[in-house]
């Protein structure tokens, strides 16, 4: 956003103020996430910077909260559950969602608007309502307090993300490519694997990542329908925050921030790859 050469002095000042405001908002967005990272290395069981930490005295820092985390059977069990539930529901949501997206992007799909609205609804309905409803219903059909119940619930919550990203990829998909492949002598199977799949994969993978993070971060539904055996990371954090907030939670939070950075980078790479493959200028 360069300032045009005809800008007046007032505009220049306003421009500087504007940039200042933007900097503050960015600080508001990212600052809190950055604050907890050093706090998680606090040697003291407090939630604030100690004298030693501010003077960069090594005695003020320690890994004790990480050690706490990695030696606690509760936390490790919770992580394991989170991965089991997250991966299973992601696979299910990705397969169902991708197949459905192929149908939805057909020109002849009847009642597309209505069906799309229904497929997206788990994303719009407040989680607490989904959770209450699933609790009532899953109790009736013997699914409450089981892994399968939690996995099915998370699949439902993850599906909108897969459907949205995959249909978006497919809508920018150039169907003449398929005809081109056919006319060049490729059979349908070969066309699918050599032409369609590589072009669609980035969309599917980013949909799957969304579905995974949705499950991995979900508290409310698990809180209602899971039993103690299905205790996940977010549940462990939730009860930790409610009861006695120890810096172990900050250590976990830091690890999770790193995880989201990793996911974000993956997504960004996927997006670029998708654009390059489709021949969209990367800018």
């Amino acid at each position: 956003m360069a300032i045009p050469s005809y800008a007046t002095r007032g505009e220049r000042i306003w421009h500087t103020v504007f940039l200042g405001i933007c900097t503050l908002v960015f600080l508001f967005l990212v600052g809190p996430l950055l604050v907890i990272i050093p706090l998680s290395f606090n040697a003291e069981p407090y939630f604030t910077f100690s004298e030693e930490m501010l003077t960069l005295d090594p005695a003020g820092y320690s890994l004790r909260w990480y050690q706490d985390f990695f030696t606690s059977s509760e936390w490790l069990g919770a992580i394991k559950n989170s991965f089991i539930i997250g991966i299973a529901s992601t696979l299910l949501a990705t397969v169902l969602g991708t197949v459905a997206a192929l149908g939805l992007s057909s020109r002849h799909m009847p009642a597309r608007g209505a069906i799309m609205a229904m497929l997206i609804s788990p994303m719009i309905v407040p989680l607490i309502i989904s959770a209450a409803a699933m609790f009532f219903f899953f109790s009736k059909i013997n699914l409450a307090q089981t892994y399968l119940g939690v996995i099915l619930a998370h699949t439902a919550l993850g599906i909108p993300f897969v459907v949205i990203t995959v249909t978006a990829t497919l809508s920018s998909f150039d169907t003449t490519l398929i005809r081109a492949a056919h006319s060049l002598g490729a059979n349908p199977t070969r066309t699918f694997f050599k032409v369609v799949l590589p072009l669609v994969t980035p969309g599917v993978v980013s949909g799957a990542l969304f579905a995974f993070i949705t499950s991995f971060d979900e508290v409310v539904v698990v809180l209602f329908i899971a039993g103690p055996e299905q205790r996940t990371m977010p549940i462990q954090m939730w009860s930790g925050i409610r009861e006695q907030i120890s810096p172990t939670i900050l250590a976990v939070a830091t690890l999770l921030v790193l995880l989201s950075m990793l996911l974000l980078t993956t997504l960004e790479l996927l997006r670029r790859r998708g654009e390059r493959l489709r021949g969209v200028s990367p800018g």
Binding site: F138, S139, K140, A144, Q145, G227, P228, R242, E243, Q244
Partner: protein, 371 residues
């Protein structure tokens, strides 16, 4: 925890060896080792049960005991499991008020106490040995615990330490924040007693509109100075951080902070509201847990539990067997809610009253908080 785990392993190992030995001699063990899913409150309380009941039981039988910390939502959990037709809990620790509801709903087994439970060492049958209200249709009490107000002694001058429930409501002589449970229970009782109502008339009074208004009016006088807590771990924390001067709490939590963490706390036993807590058996599980229940509620086991937490045994015969705190060796007697001087002005929580009025008074209490 480590030591308990270690001895637990040793225990099972020992039993396993014994079992192998027995079968080698051609004696098949009659009782198959089982896994019992026992639901309780977690924290120091579950620890005390584990030490006093579970460890000796596992050593004796080879059963495995899985502790589940869900007593806070036990009634909801029992309902959901029974509705789903898949009851996974074998024994549940719950409050008698919840037990009454669960019993009426058929979620838990009616118990024939004299048939199922052990006699006292002198032969007194259980029906005479348990404290009043300790045995209900579907309920066996194991402890007497108490809701009390505690204070941090460092926050008041030495010659001006609080001692009665009136002092908690006296902002002028005892300034500072108060942490109270975010529920009407206990608070309404204390408000009336602090307002001069005789403790024997409290519940009759609360059944009238004037009584309720009077209680809320008294609470109004300290409302601005109150921090409301919801989790049992919060009050000792708030007191320790000196965020509050007074905090209502379960007496066992304060005892733990005083004795094991050396916190400068003191309990105001005046107008303690005591109640019972104990076992219920989910419908269909009686055969499975009968033996454990017999064992875990006998005179010695209840007395043993008092080594680990300052809750009084629910059997009168256990009193003579209560000794010293396992970790610090201090005499437990005077820390018990049931200890004579502590018990003088105690009030028993009226479960029937709260069964009827908890819905309405909770709503009213929330509306009052929101004002």
């Amino acid at each position: 925890m480590n030591s308990s785990l270690r001895s637990f392993r040793k225990g099972t190992l020992g039993t396993a060896v014994a079992l192998v030995g027995m079968s080698a001699l051609g004696l098949s063990a009659t009782a198959q080792a089982e896994t019992l899913n026992i639901v309780s409150w977690g924290g120091a309380y579950s620890m005390s049960q584990h030490e006093a009941y579970d460890k000796p039981w596992m050593e004796k039988t080879g059963d495995e005991i899985v502790n589940i910390d869900r007593s806070g939502n036990a009634l909801a959990g029992l309902r959901a499991q029974s509705q789903a037709g898949n009851v996974t809990w074998d024994l549940v620790d719950m409050l008698p008020a919840d037990a009454m509801i669960a019993c009426d709903e058929g979620l838990i087994e009616p118990l024939d106490h004299d048939e199922l439970l052990a006699d006292a060492p002198d032969g007194t049958p259980p029906s005479e040995d348990f404290v009043d209200g300790g045995l209900d249709d579907c309920f066996v009490a194991s402890i007497v615990y108490s809701n009390i107000v505690a204070y941090n002694t460092e926050m008041f001058p030495e010659d001006q330490q609080p001692s009665t429930i009136e002092d908690v409501f006296d902002l002028e002589n005892y300034p500072g924040k108060r942490a109270l449970l975010r529920k009407p229970i206990n608070n309404l009782e204390w408000a009336l007693i602090a307002d001069g109502v005789d403790r024997n008339d409290v519940y009759a009074m609360l059944e009238t509109e004037e009584g309720i208004q009077r209680a809320f009016a008294k609470l109004d006088t300290i409302k601005d100075e109150v921090i409301w807590w919801e989790e049992g771990a919060q009050p000792p924390q708030l007191l320790a951080d000196q965020e509050v001067a007074f905090a209502s709490a379960y007496n066992g939590r304060i005892f733990n902070a005083m004795v094991t963490e050396d916190q400068p706390f003191e309990i105001i036993w005046d107008a303690q509201v005591f109640e019972l807590d104990g076992w219920v058996v989910p419908t269909g599980k009686l055969d499975k847990v009968k033996d454990y229940l017999y064992f875990a509620t006998d005179t010695q086991r209840l007395a043993d539990q008092a080594k680990y937490i300052s809750y009084g045994p629910a059997r009168k015969s256990s009193a003579d067997y209560v000794t010293t705190h396992a970790e610090t060796g201090i005499e437990m007697e005077e820390h018990m809610p049931t200890y004579g001087p502590n018990f003088e002005t105690a009030l028993q929580k009226d479960d029937l009253f709260w069964a009827d009025f908890s819905d309405e008074l909770t709503q009213r209490f929330d509306a009052w908080l929101a004002q």
